[in-house]
Symmetry: C2
Subunit: 365 residues, 2 copies
């Protein structure tokens, strides 16, 4: 079996995203190579997520083998030649050859590689690559990283009334992103954060559609010749609609980058060892940030437009700056409903995204 080095290298790199880096089953650390017809199919699968693609190849004899993903990628990447030839013997001894460079390694029988899940009764949705990438990018940061509520380690995709809503929540903050959908069906499913992070890396900033197939337990993303299959998360996701405060007593418009810089400067004296809330005071023409830890005191402020009641509240500085960063806007609107209610972060107009950050109670001074 012979194929182009560049194409093989890219395919191995992308398929490797679904390969376990450490597993007791060595086949899960490998890539399944299957040569048949005029193509080579590469598959990685860590039992949670699988990625598969086919590339053009000159196949002299059909066959399949599993090779260590890391080792195989290093070999391909460094090959000095344009073409690479792979040969496997009956005893799984595999030769990888490019010009004079030659490796012989023992592969793993293909029958030790787990089968990818087969999806029945699927619903299909299509969404453009750039839009899906933006939707994942603006919500992924708020996914729970602890297992205390496993269903929140994924994002909810809620499709209804010609609209797709993606929601992530981790108990301290919430991120929601809406887009018009090209589908009239109603559908709701929860995709693991790890899958979304890898899907996002395969997505490009272009408007070609991604085909998404959803069954009861699994999901498939078809992206530019790559098939990503993943299990879905099951359980009761937060009822996000009731979690969002309807009223606000203070509205603030602020330049995003400047506000992030201000937060970072004022939070410099906070560390994992010296935790402290960031005190944020929204006043007439400014937001004032201050903070006190065992190291000392920090103070900063930023000019901005505040309308409504002045209010002083405490925040975890990281949650606030994460949300501002995910806004992907030069300017954001904050809506505040008193010092103990979560703050809403929105685009200057509309609500294509909505982030909630829970305040932290400030100690009386």
């Amino acid at each position: 079996m012979t194929c182009e080095k560049q194409i093989l290298s890219e395919a191995v790199s992308n398929v490797s995203r679904a390969v376990s880096t450490k597993s007791t089953l060595s086949a899960l650390e490998g890539i399944l190579l299957k040569a048949s017809g005029g193509s080579l199919t590469l598959t990685g699968y860590d039992l949670d997520m699988g990625i598969s693609t086919s590339i053009e190849a000159y196949v002299k004899e059909e066959g399949e083998i599993v090779l260590s993903a890391r080792l195989f990628f290093d070999m391909i990447k460094k090959m000095p030649s344009d073409k690479i030839t792979i040969t496997t013997s009956e005893k799984y001894l595999t030769t990888i050859k490019g010009d004079v460079t030659e490796y012989s390694i023992l592969g793993i029988p293909a029958n030790e590689f787990p089968e990818l899940p087969v999806l029945n009764d699927t619903n299909t949705v299509a969404i453009n690559q750039d839009i899906l990438k933006s939707m994942i990018g603006q919500t992924l940061f708020a996914i729970a990283t602890t297992d205390s509520k496993p269903v929140h380690t994924g994002s909810l995709f809620d499709i209804e009334n010609n609209q797709i809503t993606v929601v992530s929540v981790d108990g301290y903050r919430l991120a929601m992103r809406k887009e018009a959908a090209q589908t009239s069906q109603n559908l709701s499913f929860i995709v693991p954060g790890k899958t979304l992070a890898e899907v996002s890396k395969l997505l490009e900033e272009k408007d070609t559609p991604v085909e998404i197939k959803v069954s009861r337990k699994h999901i498939i993303f078809n992206i530019d010749g790559y098939m990503v299959v993943s299990r879905l998360l099951e359980g009761e996701f937060l009822d996000y609609k009731t979690a969002i405060p309807q009223n606000s007593t203070t509205t603030v418009n602020v330049t995003t980058r400047e506000c992030i810089d201000c937060i970072e400067r004022a939070s410099l004296i906070i560390s994992d060892r010296l935790k402290s809330p960031l005190k944020v005071s929204f006043e007439n023409n400014a937001i004032k940030f201050s903070c006190t830890t065992a190291i000392g005191k920090a103070y900063d402020e930023i000019d901005c437009k505040v309308s409504g009641n002045p209010v002083e509240m405490g925040f975890n500085h990281k949650y606030l700056s994460d949300a501002l960063r995910a806004s992907e806007c030069d300017e954001v609107r904050m809506e505040i409903n008193g010092p103990l209610s979560p703050v809403k972060i929105l685009p200057p107009s509309g609500d294509s995204f909505l982030f909630l950050v829970l305040p932290v109670r400030l100690k009386a001074e």
Copy 2:
């Protein structure tokens, strides 16, 4: 005390190289700031090496204080203003202010900061920045990293007969670099590798001279306004002149980059867990690299000019590629004196550098 942000930031960054990252004495994790006359002097000192520099400042009142290097640098770096004002109270409370951004932190009294060593009876040598940088760069890789022979964790500077020779050795390899010197004195001293690594970062690719002052126990490098002071290593350095084989039975000329690539490809199946020597066979018109570990076999070869006896020998692949990388030449000359004698790596002509790599005995197959 007020000074320019950019200048202060660069000075803090460079002086921080001599600050302990973790010390039981918190003053050693700090930078000593001393404002007097029209300047601010910054000093970092970890008891092995000290770096000091002065920058222009508007000093309203003279004074000195020690501030945490990491924290101070983060504060300065992120300041939004061009000017930074630092004020210290009698109780060591220090205010760092730029525009509206303001930090108050508790400093450490300057008398807790250790005194830099004072050098008596010094000899002075001058050497251009670019040359010193190249001499350090071509020898630093061969410095011993273990403490089994502490004197070899530094490089020997041997100045005699109008020539400076720098030598590093770690028991498996040796690196030697020669340059004509502008001094007629004879002088020999051993500088710790850590000091040389930091000195090298301060050196630029230009031909302005570095003034080097050497006493019995210490050395000072004066580089563009920075003073680096370091203790010297004491002990019996390897007699490098007798360690270099005088004869050779095989001479090889090879393209450096191609040879490094070949070694890397053939060594891909070697890991910390699966160590194995790289078998290198110098034949008439090629070097053949091969290697066998539990993973499998690798083979590669490179065309080159081999004169003299063909020879097959084993190497630690990393030592061989380190030396080739340090050559900074498109092509190198290897001189071999049989399979058990160290190989010499030299420039195509002359001997401005000379690297020795000890072979590894190959098991009979």
